[in-house]
Subunit: 190 residues, 4 copies
DNA sequence: CGATAAACGAGACGGTACGTCCGGTCTTGTC
DNA sequence: GACAAGACCGGACGTACCGTCTCGTTTATCG
C-alpha cells in the first residue's frame, strides 16, 4: 500500500527538515509515488503530517501509565518518561511539527486532539480518578485541570525553545500539583 | 515612518488570514511600501510577524500584575485577565500565529522568548519571590516552575483549539498551585 | 461492440472540444468503457482520433467523383462538394484535428495518408488519367501535381483560419488548373 | 532581455523535439529563466512558439521575390527557394510546429496569418499584379487564387509527411498555373 | 538654492513549491 | 475471463510567493 510509504517518507523528512521545510514533492519523491496519490487521500500537508505522526510510529500510541498504588510516584515516572522523549531531537521536531500543523489548520487540530491529545488526557484522568477513589487525592481534586497542567507545562518548555524540560522539572511539577506551594504551616497557624 | 505602516499591515493581515496565509507581498501592498523596504529591516516573514505582534500593539506589553498583599488573589486576577484576552478571536489568532512563527524559525523563537515570554515569566517570578519573602509561599517553592505551570496550562488550552480557557480554569489552576491536590487530611493523619 | 462506442465518443468529443482539449478519460467515460479497453486497440490518443475521423463516419469514406465525360465540370462539382463540407463547423474541426494529429505523431500521419489522403489522390489521379486518355488533358499533364494543387489549395484556406473556401474559390482553382493564367493571346502572338 | 533568451530557447527546442514534445518548463530551464517570466509575456505555449518562429529568426522574414521582368521565371525561382528551405529538417519541423500551433489556438492562427502568411501572400500578389499590368498574365487572372495555389500545394506536400516537395514539383506547379493542363490544341481545334 | 545621494515604490526576475490534470499502465472486483 | 472502474506513476501545467535585483522618483543633506 502506497499509503504506508507516504507516511513513512513524511515521517523521515519531518525529522530531517522540520515542518516548514517539508514539501509534498519531496514526500512523493521519497515515497516513490505520484503527487496525486497523496492528494487523493489527504487534503493538505498538515493532514499528512498529522497522520504521519500518529501512524508512522513517530509518536508511540501511548506511554503506559503505571499503577503501583502510589499516584505521585506513578505520575512522576510517567511524566519523566515523556520528558525524556521530548528532550531528543526527534521528540522536539515532532512536537514543533505537530504544533505548527495545529496552528496552520483547524481540521488537523481536531484530528490531533481526538487521536493524540484526548487519549493522553483520558489516560491521566482515569488514573487520577482511581487515586481519588483510593483517597490519595482530595475529594474535590480538579482532575481535568491537573491533566492539563501536567501536559501544558511540559509543552510550554518545548515550545519556548529555550532549555528543554528535565527530569527535575517533571518531578517539581508533580510535587507542586500534589502539595501546592502555599505556606501550609503559616496557613495552619492562622 | 514606513516601519509602522508595515507592522500595522502585518498585524491586520495576521488577524485576518492567520500566519500561514500571510504573505510579504500582501503586507507590502497593504502598507503601500516596496518589498525591499521590508527586507531592509527584517530578515524573514517570521521576523516581521514577531515584531508586529510585539510592537503593533497586538499584545499589550505587559498585563500588570497587582500586589494587594495576597498572592493567590493577585495571581488569580492576573491569570483571569490573560484568559479573557486569549478568549477573543484576536487573542487566539495572535497565539496561534506566534506559535507557528516560533515553530517555523529558531531566531524568531529566541526573539519572542526575550521580548514576550521571558518578561512575563520575570513578572511572575518577581511577584512570587515577594510572596515567598512575605511568607505566603513555602520557603522551598519552585518559583520558575510555578510560572511555567501557570503560563503553560493556559497556552495548552488555546493550542488544543477545543474549549478555550475560562475564568474558572484560571481559578482552578491558581488554587491547585497553592494548595495542591494531595489528600492532606489523610497525609496529616499518618 | 465497445469499439464503435469509443469511436463515436471520440468523434463527438472531437467536434465539441477540438483535438487539444480531448482526453482519453473523457472518451472512456462517454463511451461507458474502461480506459484499458481503449489501449487494448489503439496505441495512443492520436491513433484513436485518426480512426475516429476515418471510421466514425466523420469523414465519409470518399466523395464520389462523377464521370460525365467533361473533366472540368466533374472536378468542379467534386471540389465544390468538398468545399461545402469544409465550410461547416464540423468539417473545419475535423480538418484541424486531423492536422494536429498529423503534426503530433508520425505514425498517425502515415495512417491518415494511407486511408484518407492517398485514396483521395488516387481517385483524382484515376479520373484525370481517364481525361488524359480521352484527350481532354494535355498529353504531358502532371496528374499528381494537379491532384496536389486541388487538395492543397483548399486545405490551405482552412488551415489559415481566415475566410473558409467558397464555391467560387473551387471554380477558380479548377479553371486555373485547366486554362492557366499566362497571357495566351500575347504568347501566341509571339 | 530575457525575452530573447526565451525565444531562442523555444526555437532550439522546437527544432530538437517538435511542437508536442516542447514544454514550457524546458524553455524556461534552457533560457535560464523563471516560468513566470514566460507567462508574463505570452498567454500560452502556442503563442511563444508563434513568436519564436517569427522573431527567433527561424523563418527569415521574407524570401525576396525577384523581378527580372519574366514572371514565370521569377515565381519558379522563388518557389524553388522556398522548397529548398522546407526540405531541410529545420524547415519541416517549423512548418509542422506552426501548423500544430495554428490548429491548437485560434489567436495564434490569427497572429501567424497577420505576420507570416499574409505578408507572403501580399508579396506574391504584388508581383503578380505587376505581371498582369505588364501583360504577362491574362487580364482576368485570379491573383489571390494563384497565390493560394502556390503556397497551398507546397504546404500540402509537407503536411502529408510523405515525400517532401522537390524543385521539380515547384516547377510543375508554376508551369501549371501559367499554362494550365487543358488540351489546348484540341480545344483550339473545336 | 541647487546638486547629490540615500531611501523608497514599483515591480521584473530566477526559483521553488503548490495543487491540478492527463497519458498510459496495472489492479481489483463484478458479471 | 472479459471488462468497468479507477488507483497509480510520472510529468507538465499555470499560479503563488519568496527573496534579490534593477529602475526611476521623491526626499533630505550638504556645498
Amino acid at each position: 500500500m502506497s499509503r504506508l510509504a507516504i507516511l513513512g517518507a513524511a515521517r523521515d523528512l519531518l525529522l530531517e527538515r522540520g515542518y516548514e521545510r517539508l514539501t509534498i514533492d519531496a514526500i512523493a519523491a521519497r515515497a516513490g509515488v505520484g503527487k496525486q496519490t497523496i492528494y487523493r487521500w489527504w487534503a493538505s500537508k498538515s493532514a499528512v503530517v498529522a497522520d504521519a505522526a500518529l501512524e508512522g510510529d513517530l509518536a508511540p500510541p501511548l506511554v503506559p501509565l503505571p499503577d503501583t498504588g502510589d499516584i505521585e510516584t506513578d505520575l512522576g515516572d510517567w511524566l519523566r518518561a515523556w520528558t525524556e522523549r521530548l528532550t531528543t531531537a526527534e521528540g522536539t521536531s515532532l512536537i514543533l511539527a505537530l504544533t505548527a500543523a495545529t496552528a496552520d489548520d483547524r481540521a488537523v487540530a481536531d484530528t490531533l486532539y481526538d487521536r493524540f491529545t484526548q487519549p493522553h488526557e483520558q489516560l491521566l484522568r482515569d488514573r487520577l480518578e482511581l487515586a481519588r477513589v483510593a483517597g490519595q487525592l482530595a475529594p474535590d481534586a480538579p482532575v481535568p485541570t491537573i491533566a492539563g497542567v501536567l501536559i501544558g507545562s511540559m509543552l510550554y518548555r518545548v515550545l519556548s525553545r529555550q532549555a528543554p524540560p528535565t527530569a527535575d522539572d517533571a518531578n517539581l511539577v508533580v510535587r507542586l500539583v500534589f502539595n501546592g506551594s502555599g505556606n501550609r504551616s503559616r496557613r495552619t497557624g492562622v
